[in-house]
């Protein structure tokens, strides 16, 4: 495809034909705020936060749905643009609960970011405040539709990433709301709790229940890793606070992008479960007794050695694990072959 060149804020940018103005700006590292845009989802052009000024065009076009053309001149921070963005923010604030002090999304909220950036702290508009009940009866997701800004990202994520279409816009006008069919709670819908809608929500309307009840957004350290459940091999970020895994959030995974399933996103609770074994156990008279590592390991080494001496190496068998790492599987087969002296090693590959 042919390339075209345009000028954004005085900077020349060359992009493939068919790119949007927003994409061209991003390529040139020029910041344009967005709410409803997401590179993985279909184009929507509804929030108008990304408006820019293009001489010759009537009104201010939304850059996420405006095609870049050769020779085009674009201004992303002109007075008219700033004015328009401020008005959009003021309109959003008019029916948004201003409870940032207690909102768990505080610190990772696009509405908050942009209001700060454009100095919008208040609104002249008299808005319609809704009194929707906060939905939190399922163990995974908290849905607070009072905070929804109707960007429709969750609707598209559910339909386009998850392929499910559990949620959609319902009702009209000021009562427009994202809802399940018949407006029932998620737990009574076809929802699978993949949380892919949560991953794209720019504000506090959709949040991870466990994560947000345990840590504020800036308190966590994120460690990218690979899921320990199925063979898909999704990547995600473990969110860590005070040496505890408090949640999982999407990163850009090789296989999965930002998508995860319910197990990967919400199935981390076992890590700190009180049932975790924390000390070696030795059975004495039919009961387990806690022991130190030295005692346990010498007992194991001794018994394995004796058995080998008495009955030969092939009287020993080892089961390795499809859940452990490659390094561990490698070491255990090395141990079995080189130290125990047998090839009696297998794992539950077949199950």
């Amino acid at each position: 495809m042919a390339d075209i060149t345009l000028t954004i804020d005085g900077k020349q940018v060359t992009v493939p034909q068919g790119s949007t103005v927003l994409e061209a700006a991003q390529k040139a590292d020029i910041f344009i705020p967005t709410f409803c845009h997401d590179p993985e989802l279909s184009r929507y052009g509804a929030c108008r936060m990304c408006v820019v000024e293009i001489p010759g065009m009537r009104n201010l076009p939304a850059s996420c749905v405006t095609e870049a053309r050769d020779g085009m001149e674009v201004y992303t921070e002109s007075p008219a643009v700033i004015e328009a963005r401020k008005t959009i923010l003021e309109l959003l604030l008019a029916n948004h609960p201003l409870d940032c002090l207690t909102c768990p999304k505080n610190g990772d909220c696009r509405l908050q970011d942009y209001c700060y950036y454009y100095g919008v702290g208040d609104t002249p508009f008299e808005g319609e405040h809704h009194e929707y009940e906060v939905e939190e009866e399922n163990p995974f997701i908290v849905r607070d539709m009072n905070k929804c800004i109707l960007c429709g990202k969750c609707v598209r994520a559910c339909a386009e990433i998850q392929g499910r279409g559990v949620i959609d816009f319902a009702y009209r006008g000021v009562n427009t709301k994202v809802a399940t069919i018949m407006d029932v709670p998620l737990s009574e819908s076809e929802c699978l709790f993949c949380g892919n809608c949560v991953a794209v929500c720019p504000v506090g309307a959709l949040q991870e229940k466990g994560l947000r009840s345990q840590a504020r957004t800036w308190e966590v350290e994120k460690v990218k890793t690979t899921c320990s459940y199925c063979g898909c091999g999704c990547n995600f970020d473990l969110n860590v606070k005070d040496n505890k895994v408090v949640g999982v959030t999407s990163c850009d995974g090789d296989v999965n992008g930002r998508a995860l399933c319910v197990k990967g996103r919400f199935g981390y609770g076992f890590i700190h479960h009180p049932d975790r074994l924390t000390k070696p156990l030795i059975k004495k008279d039919g009961e387990f007794v806690e022991a130190e590592w030295d005692e346990a390991l010498s007992l194991v080494a001794g018994k394995m050695g004796e058995t080998k001496k008495e009955y030969g190496a092939d009287s020993l068998s080892v089961l390795s694990s499809a859940r452990c790492t490659n390094e561990e599987n490698y070491l255990l087969q090395k141990f079995t072959r080189a130290v125990l002296g047998t090839n009696n090693i297998d794992h539950c590959a077949r199950l």
Binding site: L192, V223, C232, C261, F335
Partner: protein, 531 residues
């Protein structure tokens, strides 16, 4: 998988056999859904009306265990109608004639009789698959967990070679692996007959290479015994066992037998993060860590090696599995002085040709798919591009054999087992999450409404499922997901330890147990509604 996950959505036509993809492999399920939205055709062969079956353009609701008849039937139609890839068969395969001869018996009419799949549907799927530009076959345990599992896999391979649908992007044979690192455990040689990268035990040069790498005089060169044989010989030839991170008491068939076998050992060590049903039987239990507490790598179902990163310190006195092995080995007089998982990986890459080009430095920039033989090799998204590993692709004529256990007067129904979306394996992890277990907290048995009516069973009634080996009680879920004569449940719940019921008959080659078919009797347990 011979293909990559992302290739699925670019296919023309997908044939999914015995895979409940959207539940067992959710993210691969998303690829399938994406494919359908892109206009890809989808045919599903499964006795159950799974979610993916309901998305399919054609659902072939075949009788349990009749896969070979179906696959041979598809091949029959394709050959009969001259739709096969003649050039590919000519140039890249051998033994076509014998195969052709075998499948000639599988006329659509005879296949309908065995499988229950109507003639016209069989023909339509055969034509669509053969004429597609590229078409992957996806399968899971629905193919392998049969006494004829190995033959099932060969029949799948035959079909793909017949149409030249292998060795290309979006065309291949794709077993979807159930557990996160089954692929890696196999690659690493945690098998009785191979070292890493499937280098055979007993081959002189292989034995010498490892003896040298591991600094020992010699290594045992006799193929070891597999898990089924270990359980059989426990207490007799096998005296002591070391189990790392597996729970065979719940996961393996005929669990009463497994528990008994483990109890009869002189000495059992279990290394795990919880006191599992298996660990309870041990003499010594060693506390290991979860994936969040260690560094390492996992290899996913598309052969992609990816980093696991330590996020927190070990809980209590627990220790990563690799450190436990190092310490034990040192106590036993063979010091293993690795300072980190990275050290171990460096050694792996020196002895494992398919991993030779990988390193933690490279993996930090993203996963790599094996084979990756050199440091500048980009990895291999799909296998068998210009030739098969063995040279020519071999057609293996295989015949349909009925499942080991057929329904009879005493045990008139077929039980099949599998996985659920909200749980994983034996439930040791998912049932301790505080989320998944709250939401899906009781297992049920799917039963067809017609059977339920006959047996006087209502939705939510407690029923007893009995086979020749044992019985369990479970709540009934009446519907039409399973066909008449079949019931289905998972093995995630210890309260419904379904593997007391399943058959430990195994495929003679792969030793995979026949989880997908066993004969059972279902009866109402009590009239009390337990839901």
């Amino acid at each position: 998988m011979t293909n990559s996950i992302e290739e699925i959505s670019k296919a023309d036509y997908i044939l999914a056999i015995g895979t409940n993809t959207t539940e067992s492999h959710p993210i691969i399920g998303l690829e399938v859904k994406k494919a359908i939205r892109n206009g890809t055709g989808l045919a599903v062969a499964d006795p159950r009306k799974t979610e993916v079956a309901s998305m399919a353009h054609r659902h072939m609701q075949l009788k349990s265990g009749s896969d070979i008849a179906l696959l041979n039937g598809l091949a029959h139609v394709i050959i009969e109608e001259g739709l096969y890839a003649k050039e590919f068969v000519e140039e890249r395969t051998e033994d076509f004639e014998a195969f052709k001869e075998t499948v000639s018996k599988y006329t659509p009419e005879c296949v309908e009789e065995i499988t229950g799949v109507p003639v016209d549907i069989l023909k339509e799927v055969a034509r669509n698959y053969a004429q597609a530009k590229n078409a992957p076959i996806l399968y899971t345990m629905g193919i392998t967990q049969h006494i004829c599992g190995t033959h099932n896999v060969l029949a799948v391979a035959n079909l793909s070679m017949l149409c030249g649908h292998i060795g290309k992007e979006s065309s291949g044979v794709n077993p979807l692996r159930g557990q996160n690192n089954v692929q890696g455990a196999c690659d690493m040689g945690a098998l009785p007959n191979v070292f890493t990268a499937y280098q055979k035990v007993g081959m002189e040069n292989v034995q010498a290479k490892y003896a040298n790498a591991w600094n020992v005089d010699a290594l045992p060169d006799k193929v070891g015994i597999n898990i089924g044989q270990m359980m059989e010989r426990a207490g007799s030839n096998v005296k002591a066992m070391y189990i790392m991170g597996e729970n065979p008491v719940l996961s393996d068939p005929d669990s009463n037998h497994v528990a008994h076998a483990l109890e009869s050992l002189d000495f059992l060590v279990v290394q795990d993060i919880f006191l599992t049903e298996t660990a309870r039987l041990a003499d010594v239990v060693l506390p290991a860590t979860s994936f969040a507490e260690k560094d390492g790598t996992f290899t996913n179902t598309e052969r992609r090696v990816q980093r696991v990163r330590k996020a927190i310190d070990p809980v209590g006195n627990a220790m990563p599995d690799w450190e436990i092995i190092c310490n034990l080995s040192s106590v036993m007089g063979y010091p293993m002085n690795y300072s980190s998982a990275k050290d171990i990986f460096d050694e792996i890459s020196t002895v494992t040709p398919s991993y030779a080009g990988m390193s933690y430095e490279r993996l930090d920039n993203g996963g790599l798919q094996w084979p990756c033989p050199t440091e500048d090799h980009p990895g291999t998204p799909y296998l068998h591009k210009d030739k098969f590993a063995r040279g020519l692709g071999k057609f293996s004529a295989v015949d349909y054999v009925p499942p080991a256990e057929q329904p009879d007067a005493e045990y008139p129904m077929i039980l099949s087992t599998g996985r659920r979306h909200f749980h994983y394996h034996t439930g040791t992890m998912t049932r301790r999450t505080g989320t998944l277990d709250k939401y899906y907290n009781e297992e049920s048995l799917e039963i067809n409404e017609i059977d339920a009516q006959k047996l006087g069973i209502n939705n939510g009634d407690k029923v007893k499922v009995t086979s020749r080996r044992g019985s369990v009680e479970v709540k009934a879920c009446v519907g039409d997901t399973v066909p008449e004569g079949m019931v289905f449940t998972s093995f995630h719940f210890s309260e419904v330890a379904i593997n007391k019921v399943t058959n430990s008959q195994v495929d003679p080659v792969s030793n995979i147990p026949e989880f997908k078919v066993c004969a059972v009797r279902v009866e109402k347990y009590s009239a009390k509604n337990v839901s």
